[in-house]
């Protein structure tokens, strides 16, 4: 049976309490500017550095920071339930297992075959 008492944070003009975690447009714009700025750093930085063995690390580090900003602010991991955060992290954990297992094969074949 549903309990029809007021939701936490409910007010007269917000009876369901949905505005208690409202995004600040200013904060969203700062995050947007940061993601755009990092994209430009990645594009122009990669061109300046050229294809060295460190370039990929540089590019993926920037991509990871951008993805984290998107996930934390735009996808609202900042205010997510623990189970949602756990689901997001577990997907990265499983992908980590995927990479470790197949790279341990492909990266060591030449050691075994010679």
């Amino acid at each position: 049976m549903a309990d029809h008492s007021p939701a936490p944070g409910a007010t007269t003009d917000d009876p369901h309490g949905v505005r208690k975690e409202l995004d600040s447009p200013g904060q969203l714009l700062v995050v947007f500017a940061a993601v755009i700025g990092l994209a430009l750093v990645n594009i122009f930085g990669s061109g300046a550095i050229g294809p060295t063995k460190f370039t990929l690390v540089f590019q993926l580090a920037i991509g990871s920071v951008q993805a984290w900003l998107v996930a934390y602010y735009f996808m609202h991991l900042k205010q997510a339930d623990k189970v949602v955060t756990l689901t997001a992290l577990s997907s990265l954990f499983w992908m980590g297992i995927l990479f470790v297992l197949f790279l341990s094969d492909y990266m060591t074949r030449h050691l075994l075959i010679g």
């Binding site: 549903a2 008492s5 939701a7 447009p25 990669s46 300046a48 920037i62 735009f74 992908m95 995927l98």
Partner: protein, 229 residues
């Protein structure tokens, strides 16, 4: 679990709106986990061949159009902002702003696909395709540099498969966003039903986040190649 006042949006099998919203978010995140693993397999295959044939991949990447890719990156990041603003509009019950933000998001996504279409057309025109149609000039250029043209084409396989699958996700996203526009227009997204917008936005942001990795792996792998080789 928190309680809430009665709403016609509340499904009968949930105790309250808080529980319903939490379940909707969790369900979408579980789907996103499968998407992350799906793309993880593609990224994994790319990693192996990039490690094996780094110079061929850099050479092939240097022939892609980075201007188109840069413009598309701007489109996608901006669409993520407008999608998040749409959730805010939904929570505030501002139907006009909700429809406007969703339409801008759909327009940016459509612009992404239009630019992608021009890019593919240019690639085909330059015979930058794997298989029998592969450019003899680019193949000779690769051979002259001591590179294997076959491995250059291998990179192009990754380019078309990864951007193609990403493009399919964009098209699905456009469909979902236009459905949201219709729902918002007919008044089916009151503030307590904002999570309908939020679950679509989660999908949309993931598509954006995946592009943030496709961009360096495909388009920036050969950035500055000519100047350094």
């Amino acid at each position: 679990m928190s309680a809430s006042t009665h709403s016609p949006v509340l499904k009968h099998h949930f105790e309250d709106l808080g529980q319903q919203h939490a379940c909707e978010r969790l369900g979408m995140w579980m789907f996103l986990a499968t998407e992350i693993l799906f793309f993880g397999g593609l990224f994994g295959a790319y990693t192996v061949y990039r490690l094996w044939y780094p110079h061929e991949f850099e050479f092939a990447s240097s022939h892609l159009n980075r201007v188109f890719a840069t413009v598309n990156t701007m489109f996608l990041i901006t669409s993520s902002l407008t999608m998040t603003l749409a959730i805010r509009s939904a929570k505030l019950g501002d139907k006009g702003a909700l429809v406007r933000n969703l339409l801008i998001t759909a327009a940016l996504a459509t612009a992404f696909m239009v630019v992608k279409g021009f890019e593919y057309a240019e690639d085909f025109h330059e015979h930058l395709v794997p298989g029998p149609g592969f450019s003899a000039d680019i193949g000779k250029e690769a051979s002259d540099k001591g590179l294997d043209p076959g491995k250059v084409q291998l990179f192009l396989c990754f380019y078309y498969v990864m951007t193609g699958i990403h493009g399919i996700h964009i098209i699905i996203g456009i469909g979902c966003i236009l459905w949201l526009v219709w729902e918002a227009w007919r008044g089916a997204i009151p503030p307590e039903n904002y999570s309908t917008v939020e679950v679509v936005s989660l999908y949309w942001h993931l598509v954006d986040a995946i592009w943030l990795f496709l961009m360096p792996l495909l388009y920036l792998a050969g950035a500055g190649y000519g100047a350094h080789h």
